[in-house]
Symmetry: C2
Subunit: 134 residues, 2 copies
DNA sequence: TATTGTTATACTCTATAACTATA
DNA sequence: TATAGTTATAGAGTATAACAATA
């Protein structure tokens, strides 16, 4: 097998591995009553704090209309609230409910655990090479 | 920063990298008039040859109904045909049109090129470590 | 009886375009 | 004029359930 073929195969394994990771995460989201798209919104809110829908649309690179729908869903299921923006009456700030904050925190812990499961078995040298490759 | 944090960060970078790769592939599919889901069907047909919808549903782990829709789309856009199964009159065999075969072959070449872009810059030792980590 | 694929129905994610309220 | 968000509309992908044809 030549180099090109080895690269192609390795890329295939990489994509498969990440697809499996993503399936895992989706299942975990579903247990919390979340979809992947809504979980990504929570992730952003956790990293930014209360945030306008406009900023969420830019951060996630989706349309404003899409954010409206995602926030509608997250409000209806009790993860976030829409609060008035203190200075701009056109804008709304998306903030966590206590439940949303709890679930987002757990998501972050599970992310860290997944990293340990994936990389914890490597030697420090192997991990260094792997991380450098990204 | 402790180990757990390094692992979590590296996992984040891995997921981001693959998300970018997937965006790249989606754009490439779009140029061919394909969506990601339809491209996956072509990929399976290329690796299996003419195949029943049932087998496609199992290979892609989606419902039979979903395959019906995807094949409808691929037939309408000229990538595949539905042929009668030679021995089982309930089943249909999904086969490439010449156009579908050509696009699928190019997809495979682009996949190989992407592998080379990703890994070609690594030393052989680095690549070995990376590949082993998968 | 069991299996293959389709029809019926519904939900989520996504987009563009038109519109309202506000800046 | 420009921006933030919603309403209107549409299409893709996904699912379950009921059904027809065939095994």
């Amino acid at each position: 097998m030549n180099e090109t073929q080895r690269y192609a195969e390795t890329l295939g394994r990489l994509l498969e591995l990440v697809a499996l990771l993503n399936q895992d995460m989706e299942r975990s989201f579903a247990r919390d009553g979340l979809t992947g798209a809504r979980a990504h919104v929570l992730w952003e809110v956790q990293h930014r704090g209360p945030v306008t829908q406009r900023d969420l649309a830019e951060a996630l690179q989706v349309s404003a209309r899409n954010i409206t729908g995602l926030i509608d869903g997250l409000v209806a299921t009790g993860f976030v609230t829409r609060e008035p923006h203190p200075t701009d009456r056109r804008a709304t700030l998306v903030s966590f409910t206590p439940h949303g904050a709890k679930v987002a925190k757990r998501m972050q812990q599970e992310h860290a655990e997944m990293g340990t499961v994936l990389f914890g078995g490597m030697t420090s040298r192997q991990f260094g090479s792997f991380a450098k490759g990204l």
